[in-house]
């Protein structure tokens, strides 16, 4: 529970919660907690990777054919967009450490815009699939690939990209909070940037998962 309360206009400074011995410990705890949480997120996706590996082994041909049916251009653009957004997220931390709150906000807004861009491109990819019928399981009606296992590929595809998209949305929410705080309260500084840093760490995870999903689904 935070004991101190920073009101706008007061000297920017970190808040030490009552149950921590020092700020150093508090920061360490926050970061350790975030790393653990990110580890659980990786494991969440690891289950999907295991499904992917098992079914790729069972249906190698359907897997190859379905993988080629994806729109590589859109996927590549999305990858570039997401990697760039990771850069701006990192810059936000950089500026937070320097106490440049306005720049923190700007960088986060850029990140959020790219996140929206990513989702829009994803939307069009999904829409195309709904149109031609490359859908999971029972809903599959695409004439182009008639191999057994092709519906399974799209089950894995939709499960993993949808779960990833959900994480994009969660990441956007987290970043939005830091953005509002940077603009409104503006108390990020050299010894008070944990919120920006953790938000950015989460965003890097979202990016990292995509960097695994992209080659897995589109390239191999």
């Amino acid at each position: 529970m935070s004991s101190a309360h920073v009101t706008p206009g007061s000297v920017p400074g970190p808040k030490l919660a009552a149950h921590f011995a020092s700020l150093e410990v508090q920061k360490h705890a926050a970061r350790l907690g975030m790393w653990l949480f990110l580890a659980t997120e990786i494991l969440l996706f690891a289950g999907l990777f295991a499904c992917y590996a098992a079914y790729r082994f069972l249906f190698p041909e359907a897997w190859a054919a379905s993988s080629r049916s994806l729109d590589l251009t859109m996927g590549t653009i999305n990858t570039v967009v997401l990697i760039t957004s990771s850069f701006t997220a990192a810059m936000a931390v950089h500026y937070a450490k320097e106490g440049k709150n306005k720049m923190v906000g700007h960088m986060n807004v850029l990140t959020l815009l790219m996140a929206v861009g990513f989702l829009v491109i994803k939307f069009f990819e999904y829409k195309h699939k709904f149109h031609i019928g490359t859908l999971p399981g029972r809903y599959y009606f695409y004439e182009g690939i008639q191999l057994p296992g092709a519906p399974m590929y799209f089950s894995v595809y939709f499960a993993s990209t949808a779960l990833h998209a959900l994480h994009v949305v969660i990441g956007m929410t987290v970043l939005a909070f830091a953005t509002v705080r940077a603009y409104r309260v503006g108390d990020f500084s050299a010894n008070n940037y944990t919120q920006v840093e953790l938000g950015s760490m989460y965003w890097h995870l979202v990016d990292l998962v995509w960097i695994f999903l992209f080659p897995m689904l589109y390239l191999v």
Binding site: L32, L36, E41, A46, G47, M152
Partner: protein
């Protein structure tokens, strides 16, 4: 104050000053009495108590369904319900007991209450996250119970596909509920790991942590590493049930064995989520009531971590008859048996602690004795079912049911009750009637044996699990089992009565066991921020009892 009691040196012990201050400082129980002050609290002790209340409620629900199962099995044919109801009842029993009671029972109640106290911290690292995990747990429970009341499900608690993807009963809300409860488990685990890393009071090094903390730490590691995988699996099965993904459906090219792999990758380590904290409780209890430092502290600490590690490589023993290769089955069998080695290390050390100790045969110690029996017996039958050739015969019979009830339920319930009785004075500052405690302990231990030993026999004779009818020749043993279950239920009723009585009329106590555990270095019940006055210092190990005879002589002093 005798010189031999160095841990209680002046200035070192706020609990010492506690006697002078008694009544002047509000305890965490009296610091705010409104409903809001409880529901929105961030105090780890209040959160622990709220968990206790809910978990006892779910234990009651699961227990009632256990009794319904036993009554149904009293006669070979239909007794009190039809087949579909029976399927729903045993599923409900399993889901409630596993996800709502066994997994959170000790970590969430006693872990929450004790971990910061044992580390000399004012709270867990993330108090608000801690409160959130309680509400996430309740939300998940709400989802699951809502699904069960609206039609229920008949898949068994393992939700095996492809059946769970096809059944018309309400699977999705229950699966989603279990997924949400998993979140709560992850949050609690994270919180404990970070607390253990960052909040230890000066003087508490890793090897001066109480063994309960080691056990909770190892448990938290499993929670954090295993739960996300079942989280994903539950999401996939929910999606499969709602949108026919076909991921685990043979008809659509899916593979149900993949489901089993992912399911047991969590659910086997989950056994250790249930039983490791129990081991931690027992290490505390055996040391306190033998008045001896725990024998082989490091071995006990390391073996917790060892169980947590090996537990991840044992899941395949649930799949001996699923069609995995003989080689795989052999490897998984051997890896499963390794868990027995680590458990044996603990058992030998506990016995070594009791040896030549000044044993005080109190209620918690009675549960320790029951626990020792269930762990050894359950563990040995575990080695037996980890043997591939034997498991092929016993698979999905009542032998396996009896085995896991012995090790998971027997050991965990013993530890839960031992913890409840051992820390009841710590939590409420009140003492219960020891005589009734011992009576109910005897009833419960006897009742438990009477319930499950017949199940070993009936399983070995070939009675399959989850069937609601059975041939005439199994009846005698089933009647014995049901009789045992009623004895067990009777024991729990007695406990409920005398603990409730103690809560209201119990005698005020501070440290009735004269325990030297770190958590007793403060008042009972503790004040809101755990310690009044200066931070305690920790010159001795947590299980430090100078000399059995001397320690008994000086007890009135501490």
């Amino acid at each position: 104050m005798t010189p031999s009691s160095s841990i209680a040196a002046p200035g070192a012990v706020p609990g010492h000053e506690a006697h002078d201050d008694h009544g002047h400082h509000p305890s965490y129980l009296t610091d705010g009495t409104t409903v809001k002050s409880w529901l929105l609290t961030v105090d780890h002790k209040r959160i622990g108590i709220m968990y206790l209340a809910w978990i006892l409620l779910f234990f009651l629900v699961g227990g009632i369904f256990a009794l319904l199962i036993r009554i149904e099995l009293l006669t070979p044919g239909p007794t009190i319900m039809d087949a579909m109801t029976y399927n729903r009842v045993f599923t409900l029993h399993g889901v409630v007991m596993i996800f709502l009671f066994m997994i959170p029972a000790i970590p969430s109640v006693f872990g929450n209450f004790l971990l910061p106290l044992m580390l000399g911290a004012k709270d867990v690292a993330f108090p608000r996250l801690n409160l959130l995990s309680l509400y996430v747990y309740l939300a998940g429970a709400g989802f699951a119970l809502w699904g069960m009341l609206n039609g229920g499900l008949d898949t068994g608690w393992t939700f095996y596909t492809p059946y769970s993807a096809h059944t018309t009963t309400t699977v999705a809300p229950v699966l989603f509920g279990a997924f949400i409860i998993g979140f709560s488990s992850i949050l609690t685990g994270m919180n404990f790991i970070v607390t253990t890393h960052t909040m230890r009071a000066p003087g508490i090094t890793w090897f001066k942590m109480p063994l309960m903390v080691w056990a909770l730490y190892a448990t938290s590691c499993i929670q954090v590493l295993a739960t996300p995988v079942i989280g994903l699996l539950l999401l996939l099965v929910t999606a499969e049930n709602l949108f026919s993904l076909g991921m685990f459906d043979v008809a659509r090219g899916g593979d149900p064995v993949l489901f089993q792999h992912l399911f047991w990758f969590y659910s086997h380590p989950a056994v250790y989520i249930m039983v490791l904290p129990a081991f931690g409780v027992m290490s505390e209890v055996v040391s306190t009531f033998s008045r001896k430092n725990i024998f082989g502290y490091r071995a006990v600490a390391y073996s917790s971590v060892g169980i947590a590690f090996v537990g991840f490589f044992a899941w395949g023993h649930h799949m001996f008859v699923s069609g995995q290769s003989t080689f795989n089955a052999g490897v998984f069998g051997v890896l499963s048996m390794l868990v027995g080695v680590f458990t044996a290390i603990k058992v030998f050390n506990w016995v070594g602690t009791v040896y030549k100790g000044a044993v005080e045969f109190s209620t918690p110690f009675a549960y320790f004795c029951g626990f020792l029996f269930f762990t050894v017996f359950g563990g040995m039958t575990g080695i037996a079912v980890a043997t591939v050739s034997l498991d092929v015969a016993w698979h999905d019979t009542y032998f396996v049911v009896a085995h896991f009830h012995f090790i998971m339920v027997g050991a965990t319930i013993m530890a839960f009750l031992a913890a409840l009785h051992y820390w009841f004075p710590k939590m409420f500052g009140k003492m219960y009637h020891e005589g009734w405690g011992l009576v109910s302990a005897a009833l419960i231990i006897l009742g438990f044996n009477a319930t499950f030993i017949p199940q070993f026999l009936v399983g070995n004779a070939g009675m399959p699990r989850r069937y609601y009818e059975y041939p005439e020749r199994f009846q005698a043993l089933n009647v014995a089992s049901t009789a045992g279950a009623s004895l067990l239920a009777f024991g729990f009723i007695i406990i409920a009565i005398y603990l409730t009585y103690a809560l209201i009329y119990g005698e005020r106590v501070d440290n009735p066991w004269h325990s030297k555990g770190y958590e007793w270095l403060t008042h009972s019940p503790p004040p809101t921020h755990n310690f009044i006055g200066p931070q305690p210092t920790y010159p001795e190990e947590p299980h430090f009892y100078v000399d059995p005879k001397k320690a008994q002589g000086e007890v009135s002093d501490v």
